[in-house]
Amino acid sequence: MVHWTDEERQAISSTWAEINVEEVGHQALARVLVVYPWTQRYFSTFGNVSNATAIAGNPKVRAHGKRVLDALGDAITHLDNVKATYAKLSQLHSEKLHVDPENFRLLGETLIISLAAQFGAVFTPDIQAAWQKLLAVVTAALSKQYY
């Protein structure tokens, strides 16, 4: 079981309270698609995702970003049992979606960068560290059901 300090819980929940889930989800997902363009392979049904402008304006990307961040909200609500919370999601990503787990790490990175863009210096090293830990736990949980 993951041990969370009070400071870490506080860092995560206080940041989470301030973000617009749809906006940040869109930003983080758009960044993944632009910065690591090979990830576009998973979104062939989304229409035009071939360049930054198309990605920024694509409503399916926006909707999907929100969906992903809503799921992150679930993890935050169940910080003491992310693995169980994500068991079905992990299975889905492995068996149906066939997503390389490396992508969970990439999205975690772009989410951190999106948070930094929004919060600036308020996103301190300690707060960043708590979020990196959260995203590492999320990545591990999502990768768990792969075989």
Binding site: A30, R31, V34, V35, A52, I55, A56, E109, T110, I112, I113, S114, A116, A117, Q118, F119, G120, A121, F123, P125, D126, Q128, A129, Q132
Partner: protein
């Protein structure tokens, strides 16, 4: 992976914009590195103060970003401009190359925090590629 003309333009544009605050951004990036990836502190065991606010950490971060700035000025030949540093890292410092990726990440976070919405996905992409090239050049002579 190589830099397009557009990538180079974006990299230089950002450098010009941030160079007055380069010392502070470099210090911030190294401070984030040692907090978020505490294993990296082993390379600084000779520093008296290993907190992110440590003057030694800030000075060293400034130095690192300064060197990256030199590479930006010679963006068409990063290998030549970082040649001495490449040897230093290979023969003296021998920092495990995995750490170049970690610092690249915290540097991107610091740039993002400093530039906000101006740190667009395209700029993020160009800098991510550039830092990967810098990392490759620094590890070039390791073996």
């Amino acid at each position: 992976m190589s830099l397009s003309a557009h990538d180079k333009e974006l990299i230089v544009k950002v450098w010009t914009k941030i160079s007055p605050k380069a010392a502070q951004i470099g210090g911030d990036a190294l401070g984030r590195l040692i907090v978020v990836f505490p294993q990296t502190k082993i390379y600084f065991s000779h520093f008296a103060d290993l907190s992110p606010s440590s003057p030694q950490i800030k000075a060293h971060g400034a130095k690192v970003l300064g060197a990256i700035g030199e590479a930006v000025s010679s963006i068409d030949n990063v290998s030549a401009s970082l040649s001495k540093l490449s040897e230093l890292h290979a023969y003296n410092l021998r920092v495990d190359p995995v750490n170049f990726k970690l610092l690249a990440h915290t540097l991107l976070v610091s740039l993002s925090a400093a530039l906000g919405a101006e740190f667009t996905p395209e700029i993020h992409l160009a800098w991510d590629k550039f830092l990967a090239i810098v990392a490759a050049v620094l590890s070039e002579k390791y073996r």
